[in-house]
Assembly symmetry: C2
Homo-oligomer: 156 residues x 2
Protein backbone atom coordinates (compact mmCIF):
# COMPACT_ATOMS: atom_id res chain seq x y z
CA UNK A 1 0.00 0.00 0.00
CA UNK A 2 1.15 3.44 -0.89
CA UNK A 3 0.63 6.23 1.61
CA UNK A 4 -2.49 8.32 1.24
CA UNK A 5 -0.33 11.23 0.12
CA UNK A 6 1.30 9.33 -2.76
CA UNK A 7 -2.06 7.91 -3.80
CA UNK A 8 -3.39 11.46 -3.96
CA UNK A 9 -0.30 12.64 -5.80
CA UNK A 10 -0.60 9.89 -8.41
CA UNK A 11 -4.20 10.81 -9.19
CA UNK A 12 -3.44 14.52 -9.17
CA UNK A 13 -0.45 14.15 -11.52
CA UNK A 14 -2.61 12.03 -13.79
CA UNK A 15 -5.19 14.78 -13.87
CA UNK A 16 -2.58 17.37 -14.75
CA UNK A 17 -1.17 15.13 -17.46
CA UNK A 18 -4.63 14.70 -18.94
CA UNK A 19 -4.90 18.49 -19.30
CA UNK A 20 -2.17 18.33 -21.91
CA UNK A 21 0.20 21.02 -20.72
CA UNK A 22 -2.11 23.83 -19.72
CA UNK A 23 -1.87 24.61 -15.98
CA UNK A 24 -4.62 23.16 -13.79
CA UNK A 25 -5.91 24.83 -10.64
CA UNK A 26 -5.38 22.96 -7.36
CA UNK A 27 -9.07 23.50 -6.72
CA UNK A 28 -10.00 21.73 -9.97
CA UNK A 29 -7.63 18.84 -9.34
CA UNK A 30 -8.99 18.42 -5.85
CA UNK A 31 -12.53 18.33 -7.12
CA UNK A 32 -11.89 15.86 -9.93
CA UNK A 33 -9.78 13.55 -7.78
CA UNK A 34 -11.78 13.84 -4.55
CA UNK A 35 -8.86 15.14 -2.55
CA UNK A 36 -9.14 17.71 0.27
CA UNK A 37 -8.10 20.96 -1.40
CA UNK A 38 -5.83 22.29 1.35
CA UNK A 39 -4.15 18.97 1.75
CA UNK A 40 -3.54 18.69 -1.95
CA UNK A 41 -2.03 22.18 -1.89
CA UNK A 42 0.62 20.92 0.51
CA UNK A 43 1.35 17.85 -1.56
CA UNK A 44 1.67 19.94 -4.71
CA UNK A 45 3.96 22.33 -2.88
CA UNK A 46 6.22 19.45 -1.83
CA UNK A 47 6.32 18.17 -5.39
CA UNK A 48 7.13 21.67 -6.66
CA UNK A 49 10.11 21.90 -4.30
CA UNK A 50 11.35 18.57 -5.62
CA UNK A 51 11.04 19.79 -9.20
CA UNK A 52 8.26 17.38 -10.13
CA UNK A 53 5.78 20.12 -11.03
CA UNK A 54 5.82 23.81 -11.85
CA UNK A 55 3.41 26.09 -10.05
CA UNK A 56 2.26 29.54 -11.01
CA UNK A 57 0.28 31.97 -8.87
CA UNK A 58 -2.23 34.50 -10.03
CA UNK A 59 -4.81 34.60 -12.80
CA UNK A 60 -4.13 31.96 -15.41
CA UNK A 61 -1.84 30.13 -13.02
CA UNK A 62 -2.03 26.59 -11.73
CA UNK A 63 0.06 23.45 -11.69
CA UNK A 64 1.79 21.73 -14.60
CA UNK A 65 4.17 18.81 -14.93
CA UNK A 66 7.86 19.64 -15.06
CA UNK A 67 8.51 16.66 -17.36
CA UNK A 68 6.52 14.36 -19.64
CA UNK A 69 4.05 12.10 -17.87
CA UNK A 70 5.75 9.01 -19.30
CA UNK A 71 8.95 10.00 -17.55
CA UNK A 72 7.33 10.48 -14.17
CA UNK A 73 6.95 7.18 -12.34
CA UNK A 74 5.11 6.27 -9.19
CA UNK A 75 8.54 5.57 -7.74
CA UNK A 76 9.48 9.20 -8.34
CA UNK A 77 6.42 10.28 -6.39
CA UNK A 78 7.27 7.91 -3.55
CA UNK A 79 10.77 9.31 -3.38
CA UNK A 80 9.58 12.92 -3.47
CA UNK A 81 7.05 12.35 -0.70
CA UNK A 82 9.19 9.98 1.38
CA UNK A 83 6.78 7.09 1.21
CA UNK A 84 7.98 4.47 3.72
CA UNK A 85 7.14 1.79 1.15
CA UNK A 86 10.51 2.28 -0.50
CA UNK A 87 12.57 1.96 2.66
CA UNK A 88 14.26 -1.44 2.87
CA UNK A 89 13.10 -2.96 6.13
CA UNK A 90 12.67 -6.43 7.55
CA UNK A 91 9.16 -7.79 7.06
CA UNK A 92 9.07 -8.96 10.68
CA UNK A 93 10.69 -5.77 12.01
CA UNK A 94 13.55 -7.77 13.45
CA UNK A 95 16.78 -5.93 13.98
CA UNK A 96 19.95 -7.42 12.50
CA UNK A 97 18.13 -8.94 9.55
CA UNK A 98 20.41 -9.16 6.53
CA UNK A 99 21.47 -11.49 3.75
CA UNK A 100 23.86 -13.13 6.22
CA UNK A 101 21.51 -13.31 9.21
CA UNK A 102 18.22 -13.64 7.44
CA UNK A 103 14.93 -13.91 9.28
CA UNK A 104 12.37 -16.55 8.16
CA UNK A 105 10.80 -13.98 5.85
CA UNK A 106 14.01 -12.54 4.48
CA UNK A 107 14.24 -14.25 1.11
CA UNK A 108 10.55 -13.95 0.36
CA UNK A 109 10.51 -10.32 1.36
CA UNK A 110 13.56 -9.44 -0.67
CA UNK A 111 12.08 -10.83 -3.88
CA UNK A 112 8.65 -9.46 -3.06
CA UNK A 113 9.99 -5.99 -2.46
CA UNK A 114 12.05 -5.99 -5.65
CA UNK A 115 8.96 -6.87 -7.66
CA UNK A 116 7.10 -4.02 -6.04
CA UNK A 117 9.77 -1.46 -6.70
CA UNK A 118 10.05 -2.63 -10.29
CA UNK A 119 6.32 -2.01 -10.68
CA UNK A 120 6.60 1.45 -9.16
CA UNK A 121 9.49 2.28 -11.46
CA UNK A 122 7.71 1.16 -14.62
CA UNK A 123 4.28 2.58 -13.89
CA UNK A 124 4.00 6.22 -14.81
CA UNK A 125 1.67 9.14 -14.45
CA UNK A 126 0.73 8.60 -18.08
CA UNK A 127 -0.72 5.22 -17.12
CA UNK A 128 -2.77 6.83 -14.37
CA UNK A 129 -3.92 9.56 -16.76
CA UNK A 130 -5.07 7.03 -19.35
CA UNK A 131 -7.04 5.12 -16.75
CA UNK A 132 -8.66 8.08 -15.04
CA UNK A 133 -9.45 9.94 -18.24
CA UNK A 134 -11.37 6.92 -19.39
CA UNK A 135 -13.02 6.42 -16.02
CA UNK A 136 -13.76 9.82 -14.49
CA UNK A 137 -12.55 12.75 -16.55
CA UNK A 138 -14.51 12.15 -19.68
CA UNK A 139 -14.83 15.91 -20.27
CA UNK A 140 -11.08 15.97 -20.92
CA UNK A 141 -11.11 13.65 -23.92
CA UNK A 142 -8.48 10.98 -24.51
CA UNK A 143 -4.97 11.47 -23.12
CA UNK A 144 -3.53 10.55 -26.53
CA UNK A 145 -4.65 13.97 -27.78
CA UNK A 146 -2.46 15.83 -25.32
CA UNK A 147 0.82 17.54 -26.28
CA UNK A 148 2.73 15.65 -23.59
CA UNK A 149 1.76 12.34 -25.02
CA UNK A 150 2.28 13.42 -28.59
CA UNK A 151 5.76 14.49 -27.65
CA UNK A 152 6.71 11.13 -26.21
CA UNK A 153 4.45 8.88 -28.26
CA UNK A 154 4.59 10.08 -31.89
CA UNK A 155 1.74 8.62 -33.87
CA UNK A 156 3.20 7.00 -36.92
Amino acid sequence: MLSQSVGYAACAMGRIAAAGGTPVLIKDIAEDCDIPTSYLAKIVNSLARKGIVNTQRGVGGGVSLARPARELSLFDLCMALDDPIIQPRCMLNTAQCSDERSCPAHHFWKVHRERQIEFLRTTTVADVAAFETHRRWKHLGTPDATPNNRATLPSR
Copy 2:
Protein backbone atom coordinates in the same frame (compact mmCIF):
# COMPACT_ATOMS: atom_id res chain seq x y z
CA MET B 1 5.68 -4.89 6.22
CA LEU B 2 3.90 -6.37 9.16
CA SER B 3 2.85 -4.06 11.94
CA GLN B 4 5.23 -3.73 14.85
CA SER B 5 2.74 -5.63 17.00
CA VAL B 6 2.62 -8.66 14.72
CA GLY B 7 6.39 -8.64 14.39
CA TYR B 8 6.64 -8.71 18.16
CA ALA B 9 3.99 -11.41 18.38
CA ALA B 10 5.80 -13.63 15.88
CA CYS B 11 9.03 -13.44 17.83
CA ALA B 12 7.26 -13.94 21.14
CA MET B 13 5.31 -16.96 19.91
CA GLY B 14 8.55 -18.38 18.56
CA ARG B 15 10.14 -17.96 21.96
CA ILE B 16 7.23 -19.73 23.65
CA ALA B 17 7.37 -22.55 21.11
CA ALA B 18 11.07 -22.98 21.76
CA ALA B 19 10.33 -23.53 25.43
CA GLY B 20 8.64 -26.78 24.51
CA GLY B 21 5.35 -26.52 26.33
CA THR B 22 6.34 -25.15 29.70
CA PRO B 23 4.84 -21.70 30.34
CA VAL B 24 7.14 -18.73 29.76
CA LEU B 25 6.92 -15.47 31.70
CA ILE B 26 6.07 -12.34 29.74
CA LYS B 27 9.06 -10.75 31.36
CA ASP B 28 11.39 -13.45 30.00
CA ILE B 29 9.89 -13.28 26.51
CA ALA B 30 10.26 -9.52 26.49
CA GLU B 31 13.88 -9.77 27.49
CA ASP B 32 14.81 -12.47 24.97
CA CYS B 33 12.94 -10.79 22.11
CA ASP B 34 13.76 -7.16 22.97
CA ILE B 35 10.14 -6.14 23.30
CA PRO B 36 8.85 -3.55 25.81
CA THR B 37 7.41 -5.68 28.61
CA SER B 38 4.20 -3.73 29.15
CA TYR B 39 3.50 -3.60 25.46
CA LEU B 40 4.09 -7.31 25.07
CA ALA B 41 1.69 -7.93 27.94
CA LYS B 42 -1.06 -6.27 25.92
CA ILE B 43 -0.25 -8.22 22.80
CA VAL B 44 -0.25 -11.50 24.74
CA ASN B 45 -3.53 -10.54 26.31
CA SER B 46 -5.08 -9.94 22.89
CA LEU B 47 -3.80 -13.28 21.65
CA ALA B 48 -5.18 -14.99 24.75
CA ARG B 49 -8.64 -13.57 24.07
CA LYS B 50 -8.45 -14.92 20.53
CA GLY B 51 -7.50 -18.36 21.79
CA ILE B 52 -3.98 -18.30 20.36
CA VAL B 53 -2.25 -18.70 23.71
CA ASN B 54 -3.13 -19.78 27.22
CA THR B 55 -2.12 -17.59 30.11
CA GLN B 56 -1.79 -18.46 33.74
CA ARG B 57 -1.33 -16.06 36.61
CA GLY B 58 0.56 -16.65 39.83
CA VAL B 59 3.70 -18.57 40.70
CA GLY B 60 4.60 -21.10 38.03
CA GLY B 61 2.35 -19.31 35.56
CA GLY B 62 3.19 -17.74 32.23
CA VAL B 63 2.19 -18.03 28.61
CA SER B 64 1.95 -21.16 26.48
CA LEU B 65 0.70 -21.89 22.98
CA ALA B 66 -2.87 -23.09 22.65
CA ARG B 67 -1.94 -25.23 19.63
CA PRO B 68 1.20 -26.70 18.06
CA ALA B 69 3.61 -24.14 16.64
CA ARG B 70 3.39 -25.73 13.18
CA GLU B 71 -0.34 -25.02 13.15
CA LEU B 72 0.02 -21.35 14.07
CA SER B 73 0.82 -19.23 11.03
CA LEU B 74 1.85 -15.62 10.70
CA PHE B 75 -1.48 -15.13 9.00
CA ASP B 76 -3.24 -16.26 12.18
CA LEU B 77 -1.30 -13.64 14.12
CA CYS B 78 -2.21 -10.96 11.58
CA MET B 79 -5.86 -11.88 11.89
CA ALA B 80 -5.80 -11.93 15.67
CA LEU B 81 -4.11 -8.53 15.88
CA ASP B 82 -5.99 -6.92 12.98
CA ASP B 83 -2.90 -6.19 10.94
CA PRO B 84 -3.96 -3.91 8.07
CA ILE B 85 -1.70 -5.93 5.77
CA ILE B 86 -4.46 -8.49 5.28
CA GLN B 87 -7.16 -5.99 4.39
CA PRO B 88 -7.85 -5.97 0.67
CA ARG B 89 -7.32 -2.39 -0.41
CA CYS B 90 -6.38 -0.60 -3.58
CA MET B 91 -2.64 0.02 -3.82
CA LEU B 92 -3.30 3.61 -4.90
CA ASN B 93 -6.05 4.16 -2.34
CA THR B 94 -8.56 4.86 -5.08
CA ALA B 95 -12.16 4.28 -4.26
CA GLN B 96 -14.20 2.09 -6.60
CA CYS B 97 -11.24 -0.09 -7.54
CA SER B 98 -12.39 -3.60 -8.40
CA ASP B 99 -11.86 -6.35 -10.97
CA GLU B 100 -14.33 -4.52 -13.20
CA ARG B 101 -13.05 -0.98 -12.68
CA SER B 102 -9.41 -1.70 -12.05
CA CYS B 103 -6.87 1.01 -11.36
CA PRO B 104 -3.47 0.92 -13.13
CA ALA B 105 -2.05 -1.07 -10.22
CA HIS B 106 -4.98 -3.41 -9.77
CA HIS B 107 -3.70 -6.54 -11.49
CA PHE B 108 -0.20 -6.23 -10.12
CA TRP B 109 -1.47 -5.60 -6.65
CA LYS B 110 -3.89 -8.49 -6.71
CA VAL B 111 -1.19 -11.00 -7.63
CA HIS B 112 1.30 -9.37 -5.31
CA ARG B 113 -1.07 -9.51 -2.39
CA GLU B 114 -2.00 -13.13 -3.03
CA ARG B 115 1.65 -14.09 -2.96
CA GLN B 116 2.08 -12.28 0.30
CA ILE B 117 -0.89 -13.90 1.96
CA GLU B 118 0.24 -17.31 0.75
CA PHE B 119 3.57 -16.69 2.45
CA LEU B 120 1.89 -15.62 5.67
CA ARG B 121 -0.33 -18.71 5.60
CA THR B 122 2.53 -21.13 5.08
CA THR B 123 5.04 -19.60 7.46
CA THR B 124 4.50 -20.70 11.02
CA VAL B 125 5.67 -19.94 14.50
CA ALA B 126 7.73 -23.13 14.28
CA ASP B 127 9.76 -21.53 11.50
CA VAL B 128 10.35 -18.46 13.64
CA ALA B 129 11.31 -20.65 16.59
CA ALA B 130 13.83 -22.61 14.53
CA PHE B 131 15.45 -19.42 13.31
CA GLU B 132 15.58 -17.58 16.59
CA THR B 133 16.66 -20.60 18.62
CA HIS B 134 19.64 -20.91 16.34
CA ARG B 135 20.29 -17.20 16.37
CA ARG B 136 19.55 -15.80 19.81
CA TRP B 137 18.16 -18.39 22.22
CA LYS B 138 21.06 -20.80 22.26
CA HIS B 139 20.38 -21.60 25.92
CA LEU B 140 17.13 -23.26 24.87
CA GLY B 141 18.68 -25.93 22.68
CA THR B 142 17.22 -26.97 19.33
CA PRO B 143 13.49 -26.59 18.70
CA ASP B 144 13.38 -30.20 17.39
CA ALA B 145 13.77 -31.40 20.95
CA THR B 146 10.57 -29.76 22.13
CA PRO B 147 7.32 -31.71 22.76
CA ASN B 148 5.38 -29.42 20.42
CA ASN B 149 7.58 -30.28 17.51
CA ARG B 150 7.77 -33.94 18.36
CA ALA B 151 4.01 -34.06 18.38
CA THR B 152 3.67 -32.67 14.88
CA LEU B 153 6.92 -33.89 13.40
CA PRO B 154 7.35 -37.53 14.46
CA SER B 155 10.89 -38.67 13.90
CA ARG B 156 10.73 -41.72 11.73
